[in-house]
């Protein structure tokens, strides 16, 4: 009992010391709050798949009321922005080459004649395929406008088409990609902050020689581990909750799930990230090494989290790798909670992998404290 109490006292001392050193350093204070806010706005506003004001040009070889009617639908759409009317194929080539327009609409001379005669006709769309993603989405928008044009013309002449796909998106009714991105930001951004805080914590002490001082003192490795883990955990929770609240209040992302579920997910996620950070830090002998290690982990971890690109699109072997990535679970769970309205039992399958990751990483870090020494 006495041993247990003195152990608790030592952990408390260590936690207080960690808080004190973190908060006394103006750079750390800034690191905890500055970059998360900047990233919150950068991700929220800049990371969007929705195309807006796509630059396009037209080559209208028909110059008929019908062609003008079709093209005016593009001009009137907020999705598209007309940058020029061209009169030659050479001009089209030039414009696309210098990225003056994402796409060019080419109306052939026979357009209105064929249309009025009831014959099928074509609208040629020339796309800049260098950014395949943008080209694909832009083509989708063009098809939507053309389909609508067809539908409206058809109603006047023949019976309505028998098969029609009616889209109705659940959870994100307008398919706004901002909801998709911002709902997971609480996990994503805090992962960076927590990794930097913990990644440096052991290696800094090793570099300044204070770690030896800790090892010689009566601290046991688990005590050091807990003492080192708690402060970044607290900062991480703070950031995670702040960003999640801001997602609702600033970007208007719905919060449909349970707060308890979010708290549990974030807490377990922080523990696993702290584990990874401490592991990297104990493995490094200098701060430079641990900083490098942190970034080597971070880049693939973000890509493999499904934050921006769906995990199902990845090849099978890479999908397996994502199971070891704590970010995968927090991203999934956050979206479930925010958009789907998940409660604690619903996210349970995403919780235990984080517990496993945290346990493995923390034990490895604790073992390294004493063994990563010459």
């Amino acid at each position: 009992m006495h041993a247990f109490l003195s152990s608790l006292a030592r952990i408390r001392t260590l936690i207080l010391k960690e808080f004190l050193t973190l908060l006394k350093d103006p750079k750390t204070r800034f690191l905890v709050i500055g970059p998360p806010i900047v990233q919150f706005f950068v991700f929220g506003y800049a990371a969007t798949f929705d195309l807006d004001r796509v630059r396009y040009a037209v080559v209208d070889e028909c110059r008929s009321p019908e062609s003008r009617e079709l093209l005016s639908r593009f001009a009137g759409s907020p999705t598209f922005r007309l940058v020029g009317e061209l009169d030659s194929n050479q001009a089209v080539e030039d414009l696309i080459d210098r990225q003056g327009a994402r796409l060019v609409l080419h109306v052939p001379p026979t357009f209105s004649r064929d249309l009025l005669a009831g014959r099928p006709t074509q609208l040629q769309v020339i796309l800049d395929g260098r950014n395949s993603n943008v080209a694909g989405i832009a083509l989708g928008y063009v098809n939507a406008i053309v389909a609508q044009y067809n539908a409206e013309r058809a109603t006047g002449i023949v019976a309505a088409p028998s098969l029609q796909a009616v889209g109705r998106a659940w959870f994100n009714e307008n398919l706004r990609s901002r909801w998709f991105i911002v709902s997971a930001l609480g996990g994503e951004i805090t992962a960076v902050v927590v990794l930097l805080l913990t990644g440096l914590s052991v290696s800094r002490e090793r570099e300044f020689g204070t770690f030896d001082q800790l090892l010689v003192a009566p601290f046991s490795p688990p005590e050091i581990l807990i003492g080192k883990a708690v402060p970044p955990l607290v900062f991480g929770m703070m950031d995670g909750l702040l960003l999640s609240t801001a997602a609702v209040l600033w970007y208007g992302v719905p919060f449909r799930g349970s707060i308890l579920a979010l708290l549990t997910v974030l807490a377990l996620f922080m523990v696993s990230v702290v584990g990874v950070g401490l592991f990297i830090s104990s493995l490094s002998s200098t701060m430079q090494q641990s900083l490098l290690g942190t970034f080597i982990f971070l880049m693939p971890a973000i890509i493999l989290s499904g934050f921006t690109t769906p995990i199902e699109n990845m090849p099978g072997w890479l999908q397996i790798a994502t199971y070891a990535n704590p970010l995968r679970y927090v991203v999934g769970a956050c979206r479930e909670i925010f958009l789907h309205g998940a409660t604690l039992p619903m996210v349970r399958p995403l919780l235990w992998p984080m517990v496993v990751i945290a346990g493995t990483a923390l034990s490895a870090a604790g073992w390294l404290f004493r063994h990563r020494m010459e």
Binding site: A3, S6, S7, A9, R10, T13, L14, L16, K17, L20, T21, K24, D25, F208, G209, T210, D212, Q213, L214, L215, V216, A217, P218, F219, S220, R370, M373, E374
Partner: protein
Amino acid sequence: MNPADPILAIQDLHKSFAGKAKAPVAALRGVSFAVQPREVVGLVGPDGAGKTTLMRLAAGLLVPDQGSATVLGLDSVRDTLLIQGRVSYMPQKFGLYQDLTCQENLDLYADLQSVELAARPARYTRLLEMTGLAPFSDRLAGHLSGGMKQKLGLACALVKSPELLLLDEPTVGVDPVSRRELWRIVGEMVASEGLGVLAATAYLDEAEKCQRVVVLHEGLKLAEGEPAMFREQVRGHSFAVVPTSGTRPRSIQARLVGQPGVVDATIRGGRVRVVTEGASPQVMEGTFPAGMAAEIRPVEPTFEDAFMKLQADTQDATAARTAPSPAASHSPLPASDSVVHTRGLVKRFGSFTAVSDIGFDVHQGEIFGLLGPNGAGKSTTFRMLCGLSKATAGEVRVAGRDLRRTGSYARQRLGYMAQQFSLYGQLSVTENLRFFGRAYGLSGKRLRTRIEWALAEFELAAHRDDSAGLLPGGYKQRLAMAASLLHEPDILFLDEPTSGVDPLARRDFWRRINAFAESGVTVVVTTHFMEEAEYCDRMLIMSQGRELATGTPQEIRDLARTAVHPDPTIEDAFIALAEGTAKPSAPEAKP
């Protein structure tokens, strides 16, 4: 420039540094002196005296607030580039590229100094030969020992044959053999190339070898002259107290330190060397029991005696030093007399054997020294003792246990002070003390009492709220020691505690260690200052991972006693042992 002109003329130099939200610190307050061609001038003074500032001003790296530094007839501010082409400056930590080989470092500095390609091979050969680095020219600078690094630094500084060489504490942390070599190289260069040298140093025996010495103190020039002149000033003030057999010189020394009228008391060659205020040994009467001393006889003064007297005359405040109040009680250790016990200790890093077959015992209340140059394996041995490193083979027991396997309880009785300052720089003095106090299980009233004790004992009270990282060097050392003693340990491990500390602070430091040992604390200490070995009860001298000799200071000195050298110091003995001219002690001679 007239050949008779000084190559360096310092005129009424002032320089202060603005502190953060504090009054500016005056580093230099009107210093003037000159260095002539072919002259070696020593610059001595305690930490914070302004030595480094003066060096940097002379090298044109700083702009003086007032006054001027004239180098080779050129003004250090207006003609900085011209000066820097003709002067070599070797800062305390020379900028060697650790990932380049010795040869590549030399090439780099030769390129930077635009040394002609044709002149290089001859210069390289000479420098490498002088420094003894020729066999290591392909080795990475980062893999050299401390002494070799300094020699390579000096070689790089000399690669262009400068007219003035500025050396800022070139021998800090360097073993005696390498120190001698460094000074020999400097001497040879002065003789063959006629350069002038200004060398700041913390070793007073080195200052003695200079032609002239300038003593700085808190930014002022205290004195200037030839070493002989300094010695004459204290003639008749220096005495040696010879202890009776069976009396530890330390016991006499501890009683003399801080007595009114006693300027300095140190242990040298088994005797207590005393410098008195007046030219008479009378002040010593009654300070120690008469039975302890066999004889008190006047001795030849040294520069060090004069330096200590100068310091004492200037700062009366610190003269009234009280003996420390050591920890009141110590729980007796387990019956086994040997507190630290090692046998056949081996440590290998890959194919390199850092420590080979080291074995010794340390008894309770003993001060045990691990001596040897940098790279001898002292720190590696030390880290194995503290449980910070795993022995490849052999046995380590501290208080009967292996520290790598024991729990918190055993470690609670140890104090550890690392080689480099290793407290939390961002935390204040009290915050550091509180943390380490609590780490060792102190709390409440007892913690507060101990912190107050530490602040008073180590004279840290004025700095209690300052960040530890911003403390001056000597204070950092004191804080580190205070932190390791807060919990009144039974065993104290000190790794190079006096490295980079000025002579005054070093005396203070040993005064405290002695007091703790007298009160029953067992002390294991590593040092490369050979004269400090005199404070140890017993010592182990190491070189290249092996034991050279073990024994009391007396026994070690006896090893080097010859007809030519009837009265060797520990340093003489070390050099004799290292060079193989003295034979190590036979194992059966061990106590």
